[in-house]
């Protein structure tokens, strides 16, 4: 029987199953208990596991993220919720200088098996301080892994893998997609971190994306196929660190055209890293069109709906970019 779940419920199921499976796993964060989480991801877990394992915290991000790191140093497995990734500004030290460095600085003696879950992204009218896509920033910190699911199936499998991993993980959840549904097996399963997924196979162009732009890219590939007979390959990176460079290069070797699409601002975005990785191989001589990158305008996210929309990459502009690569405009 096919069972569909939303990303939100898939994440909750992953946490529930890991908490049942391993008593060292616990949740902490602001309003994750009876409020059921600002993004309703933790939901009713408080009633299943009690306040000892679903811990509401004061609004003290440095204290509770640091507490999570400390508890992980003694073998607990905290899953910390940051309501939106933007709040990392007030608790960066426990992540940047502590979690990311402890295994290294201790000469591999102490691990930090912690997951920091955070919603990210715009499109909900949350304005400049609750809408950012900061993944490139996290990827610039050696010592942490950065995971970004875009479907419910991936969300569950990746979160289980993240909880079982022995290193600190930043797990970024596309806020605009929490209600998106896909088929999700009931039993626990894992998806290896650092393995991209071909969400659609094609031969004419590689669209490399992740997170909130995946549904847009898939919709776009349907239009391109129907109207323009362009066969797109859509790669969902799923985790940015570690990065599945092999899948990217194999795809580009096949299609000879590549466009990288993310919601984050294009300037110094993660797309630049992917473009650079491709450029450093001989594939660069075989490309039929220069590598393109699509991302948000280099500006904080505005509030007004029409302004927010025009700041973010849109299907229309993406279509134009790709058509230009085929000299169809």
């Amino acid at each position: 029987m096919v069972r569909k779940l939303s990303i939100r419920l898939a994440l909750r199921e992953a946490m529930r199953q890991e908490m049942e499976n391993d008593e060292t796993v616990f949740i902490m964060g602001e309003d994750v208990g009876v409020y059921q989480g600002v993004n309703q991801v933790t939901g009713n877990l408080i009633y299943e596991f009690g306040p000892e394992r679903v811990m509401d915290t004061p609004i003290s991000e440095t204290a509770f993220l640091g507490t999570a790191v400390g508890s992980a140093m003694l073998g607990l497995k905290p899953v910390v919720e940051l309501q939106v990734a933007d709040f990392i500004s007030v608790c960066l030290d426990p992540l940047l200088n502590q979690a990311a460095k402890i295994r290294f600085m201790s000469g591999n003696q102490i691990n930090v098996p912690m997951v920091l879950r955070a919603a990210f992204g715009a499109g909900l009218g949350a304005a400049a301080q609750h809408s950012q896509s900061l993944e490139a920033f996290f990827c610039h910190i050696p010592g942490i892994k950065v995971v970004m699911p875009a479907t419910a199936y991936d969300a569950k499998g990746l979160l289980i893998s993240a909880i079982r991993d022995s290193d600190p993980i930043v797990f970024l959840e596309p806020r605009a997609l929490y209600t998106d549904e896909s088929e999700v097996p009931i039993k626990p399963y894992t998806i290896p971190l650092g393995k991209a997924d071909l969400k659609r196979e094609g031969k004419d162009i590689s669209i490399i994306t992740y997170g909130s732009m995946l549904p847009v890219c898939l919709e776009l590939s349907l239009i391109l196929e129907k109207k323009y007979n362009i066969d797109c390959e859509v790669i969902d990176l799923r985790s940015l660190q570690p990065l599945d460079t092999d899948t990217i290069l194999n795809s580009v070797a096949k299609t000879k055209r590549v466009i990288i699409v993310h919601e984050a601002v294009r300037f110094a975005g993660f797309g630049a890293e992917i473009a650079a990785q491709i450029s450093q191989t001989d594939l660069i001589y075989e490309l039929k069109s220069p590598i393109r990158r699509v991302g948000a305008k280099f500006t904080p996210i505005p509030f007004a709906k029409h302004l927010e929309e025009s700041t973010l990459p849109q299907l229309k502009s993406l279509l134009a970019e790709i058509l230009a690569m085929f000299e169809l405009t």
Binding site: T57, D93, Q109
Partner: protein, 333 residues
Amino acid sequence: MSKIKFVDANGEISFKELDIQIVQNFKLQKELLYKMKLARAFEEKTNELYATGFIHGTLHLAIGQEAAAIGSTAAMTPEDKILITHRGHIEAIGKGMSITSMFSELLGKDSGASKGYGGSMHMIDPDKGILHANGIVGANAPLACGIALALKKQKKDAIATCYLGDGAMNEGAYSESLNLASLWQLPVVFATVNNQYGMSTPIHKSHANTDLTQRGIAFNLPTIEADGNHVLTVYCAMKLARAFALKNQPVILILNTYRISGHSRSDKNRYRKDSEILAWKKRCPIKTLENSLLEQKQINQKDLEKTDFKIKNKINSAIQTAQLSELAKEIQW
């Protein structure tokens, strides 16, 4: 010998005498003297190795602070966990870390405590309960809450002690952590080694309220304040603090001492007077205990010479072992 000041969560002040059994425990006192001397010798030798170019990087010495470090760590059990600071060599020694692995670390050797990846500021040894040595001021406080939370969840008969300096008290992480520790009743001691200065800035230029025992009141936390240059007082104060923490009552411990050495290699001593340093030198924690034991005829000059000789040999042999070991390797992380 001074009394221990106790300020309860309501701000009520009382004073406690030192435990008479401790005062009369000369075996313990001789051990404390030995450890303080070892700590001092380690710091002096490290400084020498640095000056002669054997150690690269930076160095934060804690000469003068031996009583605070050795007295407090001696009052713990091996199961107790500590988080130390960038100026943490001597607490590490107090908690039992091998000076050979410490010298090896300083020399960038594979046999170093952190295989050459940590250095002076990061002397970490989980087997001895030294879980972190932090180069970020104040950052130990939230981590200590987490260590304490884990100890509590795992029902361990042990506590976490967060070492920090007076300077760290003005970090946001410190205040957030006091609140969280108090709210969640965590088995943690916030051991504040008050050496009077945050780098060059004295307390009266950095703390709006210079009475450090008042900070806890806002967070419903008791505070214990002790003469940090008197090792027995420190020992008794830490025992008291530990007893609170074991009952899941977090507590602030203030140990008033003085850093005779400069902040780091960059220190040109432009911010304090020689007379001030001299006055504190006269209150040297090692001399204080030494004189007390001599007066009470528990040791004699010959014993002291023997101890110094033993320490010198121990240090030299540790350095020799460190120098002979292999350089740190590149590890595939």
